[in-house]
Amino acid sequence: MSKLMKHRLAWPVITLLVLLSVNAAFNPGFLHIEWRGGHLYGSLIDILNRAAPLMLVSLGMTLVIATRGIDISVGAVVAIAAALAAWMIGGALVVVDGVATHVTRFPMPLALIAAVAVAALCGLWNGMLVARVGMQPIIATLILMVAGRGIAQLITNGQIITIYYGPYFFLGSGYLLGLPFSLFIVAAVFIALYLAITRSALGLFIQSVGINPEASRVAGIKARAIIVGVYAFCGACAGLAGLLISSNVKSADGNNAGQLIELDAILAVTLGGTLLTGGKFSLVGSMIGALIIQTLTYAIYSLGVPPEVNLVVKAVVVFAVMLMQSAEFRDSIRALVQKPARGEVRA
């Protein structure tokens, strides 16, 4: 049992289970899943669907944090991708042969690819600033965070673009084999990433770069290329998330899309056990972290508490996790519990 507790994922899984139990306790129908309208239906399905964009962003953010970096521009990139896709798809009602159909400004596949590609380019920009110019990650990504929303507004011309195109909604609200389609997207990205990390030396290199960038460079690892790559990947994930979000709400809001998602993603990664100082990371942990955040939001909602209280709860959770991760804090607790030994080293 104690060995199970020592596992890296122990605390995240326990936290998630506790939250699910709290939900179930206050909400009788919480764990209930049924088949309705041609797909699975229930609170759990809802949580999974809503958590999908955050899970994607968290996957990208995990790799960035593992290299000892951070990307606070993901929210802006979400907005840019959503805006671009919405603009390219648009959707107008046209009567063809007496049948009213929606047509798009550009073919949908092109719009999707363009949105993700632009998002990846944003990530590439961040990566170049960090790896080649040598800026601190927080300031490098701050630039795009500030300018990015302006760019998104530029694309949408300051309006909220409503999308009138059925097939697009499938991304965020459609179902495949009874499960939300968004989950398949998340699963695909996760599996591809997992394979890339475990079947190649990428996982080793990313960890090495995060723990000791200089030693990694001396060992012959192309540290710069790896750093640029993880930021580009993070951007692409944010782009995908933007597609899911705008597809779900059937619109793109340059100002509000993806608001605060960067903070949620950082929180999800930290909850999942990856340290902000870089090094060892856990993809599964970050996914669980994203689910924790979503379940938390759901719990607050179903408890009838105003959703803004969410913020206070998140703050408390962050504080708790941070303190637990701090060696000095654990030492203080230990010192309170045991009598300090004589002549121990002072910090």
């Binding site: 300031i139 490098a140 105003p306 913020l311 504080f319 303190l323």
Partner: protein
């Protein structure tokens, strides 16, 4: 009596960056910022009628008074090598608490003002304590603080609370004439006066008090500062406390400006504050920079906004793009300077 240091030692000092006229290298970033501001002001005066008016210039102070105060607090934190993401939320919390106490509980403004200032200061001190005592990362601690403060706002009220208290209204509308020349008059608000006072006090603290100098030392090298016997712990907690106080004061000024308390006030203001500090020439790594520069950073943000609104054709979100571009240029320059001065002599 031994000889003067030999020429070989002198020659080892790196060649100073080419001085612009008679400006010392260390003032170069500040000069760049001020020059850019003057350039923009000149361009604006040339292209738009009515731009070159004293009131337009004073409006920069009136409309951005709260940002000046907030960014001044942020400057100290960044100089010490940290960062404070909670400032916008503390401003919002200050407005909410003020509005709630004054409107819903009938408190006197003169009791509310000291209370909210104390609250902000305590908030900052708590963050500083957690950061220093447990070696937590400032980014995450102040991020959580940001969540907490905004959440507390919403706990008080979801909707905005308008302030109709006469004292607040009077202060909000008061204008002190500054300039009267023929037909042109210009006046300044009380908030702007507070901002200028805070700025002057901050410049004094930064340059003439041991605390201010310790902030620079800690930002330059915390390890060395510790070995030199400087009060590192007190300094770190102190800058976050000061930032909390400045945020609360900025919140008070904001309350005068908006006459309401609302959870959505000052969203994203921390980014504007950080941008102002960076554009003002302060290095994010700490130890280098001037409070005076931050003033011009804020004025720069303000003048971009003013230029865009004067133009009328450009949409307001261009502000974001231009600010982002400015940030990029200044950070790039900082990196270039850092790389050049790191080269061995």
């Amino acid at each position: 009596m031994s000889a003067v240091v030999s020429p070989t030692v002198e020659a080892r000092q790196p060649v100073a960056t080419p001085a612009v006229m008679k400006i010392q290298p260390k003032y170069l970033p500040l000069t760049a910022t001020i020059s850019l501001f003057v350039l923009m002001a000149t361009l604006g005066s040339v292209f738009y009628t009515g731009f070159f008016a004293p009131q337009v210039f004073l409006n920069l102070f009136i409309d951005n008074a709260f940002l000046i105060i907030c960014a001044v607090g942020m400057t100290f934190v960044i100089l010490a090598g940290g960062i404070d993401l909670s400032v916008g939320s503390v401003i919002a919390l200050t407005t909410m608490v003020s509005a709630s106490l004054v409107q819903r509980h009938g408190w006197s403004p003169f009791a509310v003002l000291p209370l909210v200032l104390a609250m902000g200061t305590a908030f900052g001190a708590l963050q500083g304590f957690l950061i220093e005592r447990f070696r937590l990362q400032p980014f995450i601690v102040t991020l959580a603080g940001m969540f907490m403060a905004r959440g507390l706002c919403y706990l008080i009220s979801i909707d905005s609370i308008d302030i109709t208290n006469p004292v607040y209204s009077a202060i909000s509308q008061a204008r002190i004439p500054v300039w009267a020349f023929g037909e042109e008059t210009a006046s300044i608000s009380i908030g702007a006066l507070i901002a200028i006072a805070v700025l002057l006090a901050a410049i004094f603290i930064a340059h003439c008090t041991p605390f201010g100098r310790a902030v620079y030392a800690v930002g330059g090298s915390e390890h060395s500062a510790m070995l030199m016997g400087l009060p590192v712990r007190g300094t770190v907690i102190g800058v976050y406390t000061l930032s909390g106080l400045c945020s609360a004061l900025a919140g008070v000024v904001f309350t005068f400006y908006m006459l309401s308390g609302y959870g959505l006030h000052a969203v994203g203001l921390e980014l504007d504050a950080i941008a102002a500090v960076v554009i003002g020439g302060t290095l994010l790594t700490g130890g280098v920079g001037y409070v005076f520069g931050t003033l011009f950073g804020v004025l720069m943000l303000g003048i971009i906004q003013t230029l865009i609104s004067f133009d009328g054709t450009l949409s307001s979100w261009w502000t974001r793009i231009v600010v982002g571009a400015l940030l990029f240029v200044f950070c790039l320059l900082q990196r270039v300077f850092a790389a050049r001065s790191a080269k061995p002599s």
